[in-house]
């Protein structure tokens, strides 16, 4: 520092500089004095000139600002079926200023209406943070009986009032639970995150599904009333009023009749169905079974009921369509086949001999085909339609894990699909780099072999399988799945269409013939003489491309045989099926998973056929 102080800085007129600094000090003192006078003038203005005005406001009349919560937007399916609505409901409100002894009042109220410990806890929390609303909500959704009982006892409860409000209702219950989601009471965490006055009067917020993802669209803008009240707390007049602006309505792509049919067809099984419009990515159905009734969640589900849902072995709260991660099994084969063609590793005509097992050179272990006696010589179309394992063991080995990983990633495996609903998982698309990173182990050749038939490390969600099928139907164009189609202004009924989204990714395709080969193989699955799902393809009025899959729940030892009847139900294989139709001009792509269903052809494919019939064929009156 010293070195940089120049000669001219040392030769300075110290006296003159001091005088300059002292002058500035006087300027500063003058400025401070001036500001003191400004502040004082303001205080004189408030306290002397306008004391009367403010005294009136503070003593005789008190201004309170009351928030008017906006009406939440409604949710409709693609045909205008109402999925989420607001029903009138009555709640109980306490005005603390007018209640002498809150504890005694709570105890007395207990005899008139049911008040749960959770209600009391929330009430105390609201009481503490009370700021702009005068009344504090104690109970929501009073029953008619409670309403009547309170009306009779009303004189006993000064400062307790019935307030009219609305509550969210899902008329179709369980069938929309996983797709639409539900709202719940705003929690403290929510408040911390929101931190703005737009939620001043709001009691509920989207917790899951579309209700959560589109919270900002559905909620609307809060309104407020500035009310003058006298010392008794009675409203004298409204000084100022800004109405609330209702939230926007949502129209979904989901076809409720398809959604409900899927639920019926899955029946008592655990499983999931996702149906997409390949061209747009529109989600036509998104079902996870078993489901649950979302309505009790809106105003706080009883702890016992919640416990029952949570501890149920069928896990009804778990959204299998977005979060279930399953080995894709043989449904992966069309994509592996396409990889072989596109990367020039094989061609459509090349034959592979299937003796019923496959061996890596120099290794003992035999990788078995599902067909014990073998398929004989298989070309690609037949390998797909008959789901020959050995063909794909061999193809996978020649592709290698990393090329397979890179090709399959183009169809969305191992990554989020960018659907407009919260919570989807990524599945797992293994590679040698992944294994080194995650397990700190090298990749073994045998693991490549079983990845070729969708076993081993690989996991995919039902949504990912549907997206992959749709991408195949589109010949490489992968669209982001969309549950919401349009947002509607509830007053003008003007619909703001969601901007048509660009494809997420387009698989760079070499030859159309390669896609033809794979799609022909999948068409043979449904309509070929020895197709694995020919039973489900029979008699269709349109042509379907599909692929069955069976995912092992537990590993078989070398040469051990899987016997459906000897295995306990929860260890039985999962049945999987992906399809799109019509082949020539695909309008629906679908993925079905039936947990422990035994096989894809037996459990999953028939469901898909029914859904495609329902969607594609004109309904018979």
């Amino acid at each position: 520092m010293y070195a940089r102080i120049s000669e001219s800085d040392r030769l300075r007129d110290y006296i003159r500089e001091t005088r300059l600094l002292q002058n500035r000090m006087f300027v500063a003192a003058a400025a401070v004095l001036l500001l003191m006078f400004v502040v004082l003038a303001r205080l004189i203005y408030l306290q002397v000139l306008n004391q009367e005005h403010y005294l009136t406001l503070s003593q005789n009349n008190r201004i309170s600002v009351v928030a008017i919560p906006p009406a939440r937007g409604l949710i409709y399916d693609r045909n205008g079926v109402l999925l989420a609505r607001n029903l009138p409901a009555f709640g109980l409100e306490v005005i603390p200023e007018q209640v002498a002894d809150i504890e005694a009042t709570l105890r007395a109220l207990h005899e008139v209406v049911a008040i749960s410990p959770a209600d009391v806890k929330r009430f105390r929390r609201l009481l503490k943070q009370k700021r702009t609303t005068r009344g504090v909500l104690l109970r929501l959704r009073l029953s008619e009986e409670e309403l009547a009982r309170f009306a009779v006892n009303r004189p006993r409860f000064h400062g307790v009032d019935i307030v009219a409000g609305v509550t969210r209702d899902y008329p179709l219950g369980a069938s929309t639970a996983h797709a639409v989601g539900y709202v719940g009471r705003i929690s403290e965490d929510d408040l911390d995150q929101l931190g703005d006055s737009n939620y001043s009067g709001t009691t509920h917020i989207g917790k899951t599904g579309i209700e959560q993802a589109y919270e900002d669209v559905l909620h609307g803008t809060v309104g407020f009333e500035q009310i003058e009240t006298n010392a008794q707390g009675h409203r004298l007049r409204i000084l100022k009023r800004t109405p609330a602006r209702a939230g926007r309505n949502l129209h979904l792509n989901i076809d409720m009749s398809l959604q409900q049919l899927a639920g019926q067809e899955l029946g008592g099984n655990r499983g999931a169905v996702v149906a997409l419009d390949p061209a747009t990515g529109a989600v036509l159905a998104l079902v996870s079974q078993p489901a649950f009734d979302p309505n009790p969640f809106v105003n706080g589900i009883e702890p016992g009921d919640y416990q029952a849902l949570q501890s149920s072995p069928d896990q009804p709260l778990y959204n299998r369509a977005l979060r279930g991660q399953y080995p894709p099994g043989s449904t992966i084969k069309p994509f592996v086949a396409l990889a072989g063609l596109e990367l020039g590793v094989t061609d459509a005509q090349r034959g592979t001999f299937c003796p019923g097992w496959f061996q890596l050179p120099g290794q003992e272990r035999r990788y078995r085909d599902w067909k014990e006696e073998g398929h004989g010589v298989m070309d690609m179309t037949h390998a797909i339609s008959e789901s020959c394992d050995v063909y794909f063991y061999e193809l996978a080995q020649r592709l290698g894990i990393d090329r397979m990983h890179n090709f399959l990633a183009q169809f969305g495996f191992g990554q989020k699909s960018a659907i407009d609903a919260p919570g989807e998982l990524t599945g797992l698309l293994p590679s040698s780099a992944w294994k080194r990173r995650a397990r700190n182990q090298p990749w073994f050749p045998g693991e490549t072999v079983i990845t070729g038939i969708g076993q081993g490390y690989m996991l995919a969600t039902p949504l990912q399988l549907a997206v992959a099928a749709a991408t195949l139907a589109n010949r490489g164009v992968r669209m982001p799945p969309r549950i919401v189609s349009t947002i509607e202004n509830p007053l003008t009924r003007n619909k703001l269409a969601q901007a048509a989204l660009p494809p997420l990714y387009t698989v760079p395709s070499g030859k159309a013939a390669n896609w033809d080969t794979v799609i022909t193989g999948m068409t043979e699955v449904m309509h070929g003489e020895r197709g694995t799902a020919r039973g489900s393809g029979a008699g269709a009025a349109y042509r379907i491309a599909g692929k069955t899959g069976t995912a092992q729940v537990f590993g078989l030892k070398q040469d051990e045989k899987y016997d459906k009847d000897k295995v306990p139900l929860h260890l039985r294989d999962h049945g999987l099926f992906i399809a799109f139709a019509p082949v020539e001009n695909p309008r629906i792509a679908i993925a079905v998973i039936v947990e422990n269903g035994g096989s894809g052809s037996g459990a999953a494919a028939p469901i898909a056929r029914k859904l495609m019939d329902h969607y594609l064929l004109p309904s018979v009156p």
Binding site: M1, E17, L21, Q22, V39, Q47, Y54, D192
Partner: protein, 371 residues
């Protein structure tokens, strides 16, 4: 010893001199603290625990003031670059390792204590600038003003990003006061002001939408009547209804009915004005003015440029806190989270403030050297 200042080479008389305390300043601070206790007893709903915690915080502050007062100003000057450097490094580290509270990262966890680096910067910046300018020819030329500008802008930008706009403004103020006191030419001041006026719309262009709305509410609280605007309406009513004589201690209806937000911290002045009226306000402003006057007197009598600039800047920062707080509570200014020094409950800012008073006392009581 300086023969021109006879008072300073006399041996230390009395306890106050030995402890490097400046009695007039100390008296002012103690009186203000006493007022603070009286108001807080009422504002806190007659809560003794709150008073006790406030007393502990004050004791910590006064203790720190006593310690800082023992440090000769020369040592402070030597330490300035190190303090500034350390504060800067910690500020840069906050986004990486800092604790998050209410969406803003301001705290650094040093194991034993949690610490706000921006508080250290409140002292380190004026120290560094006073040292830099005090050693060179005054008034500083345009090039040196730019160097000072950089010293100010870097920490201020880091703090504004946390985001803590209030503190950023106060620290920028502390830096600018040094520059203004150093005799910087009026045309540079006018030019910079003009430049800032031109740059503001450009800056607007780079803001996110949510930042714009926040800024608009900041400028016009009425647009958010349930949030910031509500605070202002209620605190203006409290002040105005106090009138000339006030409603009397413990009788403020606005505060007791919970209409005043943050009534023990940022809005404590509203409680005070409601209960003690204009008479009380005059007394409080007189006390504040006497402390400011003593600070400026110390700056005027300071032995060299460094101490002169430092004492002046610290005193003006203290005044700035007072003006910002009272203007905000009385509706002259948008709401910024700045407590009223020595009156508001607790706060880390109190401890920093007391350290700065320790510096003022050190400047006035340590024997001066010949330059």
């Amino acid at each position: 010893m300086n023969i021109m200042e006879p008072g300073y080479n006399k041996p230390a008389r009395g306890l106050a001199q030995k402890l490097h305390m400046d009695l007039p300043l100390l008296t002012g601070l103690l009186l203000l603290s006493a007022v603070g206790f009286v108001v807080l007893y009422s504002a806190g709903g007659q809560n003794e625990g709150l008073l006790l915690r406030h007393a502990m915080r004050l004791a910590l502050g006064f203790g720190l003031m006593l310690m800082v007062a023992q440090v000769p100003p020369q040592r402070l000057q030597e330490a300035a670059p190190w303090l500034y450097g350390a504060a800067l490094i910690m500020l840069a580290a906050v986004p990486l390792v800092g604790d998050q509270a209410k969406g803003a990262q301001r705290w650094l966890d040093l194991g034993v204590i949690r610490f706000q680096p921006s508080e250290l910067m409140k002292l380190a910046l004026p120290l560094l600038l006073a040292r830099y300018l005090g050693r060179r020819r005054l008034p500083p030329g345009a090039r040196r003003v730019l160097v000072c500008g950089a010293m100010i802008v870097i920490p201020v930008a880091l703090i504004a990003k946390q985001p803590d706009l209030g503190t950023a403004v106060l620290i920028a103020g502390a830096g600018l006061f040094v520059l203004l006191l150093s005799g910087i030419r009026w045309w540079i001041i006018a030019g910079s002001a003009l430049l800032a006026a031109v740059a503001t719309p450009l800056l607007w262009h780079f803001l996110h939408d949510y930042q714009r709305t926040r800024l608009l509410i900041f400028l016009n609280p009425e647009s958010d009547p349930l949030g910031a605007g509500y605070h202002i309406t209620q605190s203006t009513i409290a002040i105005g209804s106090g009138g000339f004589t006030g409603k009397g201690w413990l009788n403020g209806t606005q505060s007791y009915l919970d209409f005043i937000p943050e009534r023990t911290t940022d809005f404590v002045f509203a409680v005070y004005s409601e209960e003690f009226g204009l008479i009380g306000v005059l007394l409080l402003l007189a006390l504040f003015t006497s402390v400011i006057a003593r600070g400026l007197y110390i700056a005027l009598r300071a032995p060299d440029h460094f101490t002169r600039l430092l004492a002046g800047s610290l005193t003006l920062s203290f005044s700035l806190y007072i003006f910002v707080n009272i203007s905000m509570v009385s509706g002259l200014m948008p709401v910024v989270g700045v407590p009223l020094p020595l009156i508001s409950y607790g706060g880390t800012a109190l401890v920093t403030l007391m350290a700065s008073f320790g510096m003022l006392m050190a400047i006035h009581t340590h024997p001066r050297k010949l330059v």
